[in-house]
């Protein structure tokens, strides 16, 4: 008998057989383990994933969003005309069906304002498609810029900015709310009062200030701004949209602190860090993800709103908000250039619908309720 043999129970029974530990056989132990592992999937996240996968609408939304993300990332690779190539025209030209004009061969690569990766993608595109480009399937605006290309390239700005802004708001809001909920007492009171005060300040004012403030050096001193307009934008929007995230996270943390299973863990002698990592974090993360998904549509709408007020991305760049506001401005009773507003509106509506569906699905999957706050 080696030293590693488990201690035998002090029983007067027959000598344990090979592979048996007294009153408790290996098979039993293994069966219990299997049983525990079989039950382990009853975790919040596993359950949420199962509930999520059951919904066809959520699956389709997810597929669409993945497709859109790929499309916008690989936009330079698409055989589209350059989104900023100007062809002087007297008025916007209407959409043409693909079977009428399939394409043209007058693409000239435009590298202005592109990063290294995008340049490489454009070079690859030229290598694959040469100078062939798609026809004006969605029409063109008054400057002759192809609308399809602009919608596809616009998705890059809109999605990226929305994602960054939502992540900024998540970072600030979750930290703020978690601190308030975990520390409690006076700190909690002070932090949440600040949130209350900020809630009653019209944030748009703050946004306008911050945008014009951070944006100014380029206009005043004629030098490159420290941050690009988009970076300013997502920092600013993230900085003003974290409030509801902070409230939600704080509420969840407070609820968890009172929860029976956290109490049980504490009684069992778990350290605070363990409880935070194993119990609080996964539960808060769920609610944070739901809030994040529902923040994305509102940020995209906010970007459109600021673009309409002339505070969005600057012209060589393009975003859905800019396209929609250009379309809204081109509307007049004599010549309705409907396609200029309909195309970006459809792009925006489908994306926001998918995000909304996904967010609703996630919320139901995590068993959360819809709240009267946005």
């Amino acid at each position: 008998m080696s030293a590693s043999t488990p201690p035998t129970p002090p029983s007067a029974g027959p000598k344990p057989a090979e592979g048996e530990h007294g009153w408790f056989r290996d098979e039993d132990f293994e069966r219990a383990l299997v049983e525990i592992q079989r039950q382990a999937p009853e975790s919040l996240w596993r359950k949420a994933r199962e509930r999520l996968a059951r919904r066809a609408s959520v699956r389709w939304s997810l597929r669409f969003l993945v497709f859109l993300a790929l499309l916008s990332w690989l936009a330079p690779l698409m055989p589209l005309p350059s989104p900023s190539a100007i062809a002087v025209a007297s008025e916007p030209s209407p959409p043409v069906f693909p079977w009428e004009v399939w394409g043209d061969t007058n693409f000239t690569p435009d590298y202005a304002g592109l990063g290294a990766l995008d340049r490489a993608l454009v070079r690859l595109r030229v290598a694959i498609f040469d100078d062939w480009r798609t026809g004006p399937w969605l029409g063109a605006d008054a400057l002759g810029r192809d609308l399809l290309a602009r919608v596809v390239w616009g998705s890059r700005t809109s999605l990226l900015v929305a994602l960054c802004a939502a992540l900024t708001s998540l970072a600030i809001g979750a930290t703020w709310g978690a601190t308030a909920g975990l520390v409690g007492g006076r700190v909690d009171n002070a932090l949440m009062r600040i949130v209350d005060v900020l809630f009653s300040i019209p944030t748009i004012f703050l946004v306008i200030f911050l945008l014009s403030f951070l944006d100014a050096p380029s206009a005043e001193l004629g030098r490159e701004p420290l941050l690009s307009r988009e970076q300013v934008f997502f920092l600013v929007v993230g900085a003003v949209s974290w409030l509801s995230m902070a409230r939600v996270v704080r509420g969840q943390v407070l609820e968890l602190e009172r929860a029976a299973f956290v109490e049980a863990a504490r009684v069992a002698g778990a350290s605070t860090f363990w409880i935070l990592r194993k119990h609080v974090l996964p539960n808060v993360l769920g609610i944070a993800v739901v809030n994040l998904t529902l923040t994305l549509p509102s940020v995209i709408l906010y970007e459109a709103f600021l673009s309409f007020l002339g505070l969005g991305v600057e012209p060589p760049k393009v975003s859905w908000g800019l396209l929609a506001s250009e379309g809204a401005e081109a509307l007049n009773p004599l010549e309705s250039y409907t396609w200029l507003i309909v195309a970006p509106a459809i792009a925006m509506a489908t994306t926001l619908l998918a995000l909304q569906t996904l967010g609703d699905g996630l919320r139901d999957a995590f068993g959360l309720e819809e709240r009267g706050e946005r």
Binding site: S200, L206, P217, L309, G372
Partner: protein, 326 residues
């Protein structure tokens, strides 16, 4: 309730002070000034203008003058004393720096009623449309009507309001010319703007009231009422709606703020001379006094509406205690 209102009044002062201070220093910190337009002014002219609007004063004095309630210029207690009080605390925002010969109070008195009329119209419309749709859809969950309402409610949330407004103009002013494209004066000028402003909020209210109603309808007291033989419509309107209104009412606070923000865009699209136009323009033109006035008024409106909402909330649900978490 009295204690709650007193505490609210205190917080109101704190919030207003925070808004005024933030707006004051942000405006001064932002590059450029009210007179740094495209047309370069002669230095002596600019110096005179700056002196006229007290921009040559030290910052603390400008701040004290802006906050009030004492008027620090020559008309105040330290001058000829013809105008003792001034500043935000005395509800006197001073002369506008861009609109010559007009005070900010004049500008606000002219434009604010229009914005408030449009905003309250939109909010009322959102409430009526949203609650109606929500009740109709919760009445028979799973029905075709329910599906329709849910689809409409989701689609109301996926477009920016200026796109909704443009599409409404396209349909109801260009294709079926029944309503004016833009303008201001007759009541029918308010139809499209109010609808465009209300739709997103109506959509959200419909979702909230549907969810709230469905939850309330599964409660025990509803089953009791059903068992006693009360008609279904009566249960829906009398018993369930009251309980289901809570989330809707608490949404009205953010909704009011949203309607105010949204009216910036809607007023611009429909060429309505409301306060929203001044909001963005004053900040961009660095019209310090007008920007201050508009910001304070908006903050006060939002705060006041939130307080009203909280009071309404307790009336709806007497179990809530305002004193506890005022």
């Amino acid at each position: 309730m009295t204690r709650f209102l007193l505490r609210r009044a205190l917080w109101f002062l704190v919030t207003t002070w925070a808004v005024v201070t933030a707006a004051f220093f942000l405006l001064r910190a932002a590059p450029g000034g009210p007179f740094s337009g495209e047309r370069k002014l002669h230095p002596s002219v600019e110096a005179n203008l700056r002196a006229q609007y007290h921009l040559d004063w030290p910052l603390w004095k400008q701040y004290a003058h802006t906050v009030g309630p004492l008027n620090l210029d020559e008309r105040g207690p330290f001058g000829d004393g013809s105008d003792w009080f001034g500043g935000v605390l005395a509800l006197d925002f001073g002369p506008s720096m861009q609109h010559r010969d007009v005070t900010v109070n004049d500008v606000l008195a002219q434009s604010l009623p229009i914005s408030i009329a449009l905003g309250s119209l939109a909010l009322a419309l959102a409430l009526v449309l949203g609650l109606g749709a929500g009740v109709a859809s919760a009445h028979k969950p799973g029905s075709r009507l329910d599906g329709l309402v849910r689809a409409a409610a989701t689609s109301g949330l996926v477009l920016p309001n200026f796109v909704i407004a443009s599409l409404l103009i396209l349909v109801f002013a260009f294709w079926i010319p029944v309503l004016p494209v833009a303008g201001f004066g007759a009541p029918r000028h308010f139809v499209l703007p109010a609808v465009a402003l209300a739709l997103p909020f109506a959509a959200y209210i419909a979702r909230l009231s549907r969810a709230g109603l469905l939850e309330t309808l599964s409660k025990d007291y509803i089953r009791t009422a059903l068992a006693k033989g009360a008609p279904r419509s009566r249960i829906l309107w009398r018993h369930a709606l009251r309980g289901a209104l809570a989330p809707v009412v608490s949404f009205l606070g953010p909704a009011a703020a949203g309607v105010l923000t949204g009216s910036l865009v809607i007023e611009r699209i429909f060429a309505i001379p409301g306060a929203g136009t001044h909001f963005v323009a004053s900040a961009l033109n660095r019209d310090y006094t007008l920007a201050m006035g508009v910001t304070v008024v908006y903050a006060v409106l939002v705060f006041g509406f939130n307080t009203l909402v909280d009071v309404a909330y307790t009336l709806l649900d007497p179990r809530l205690d305002l004193e506890r978490d005022a």
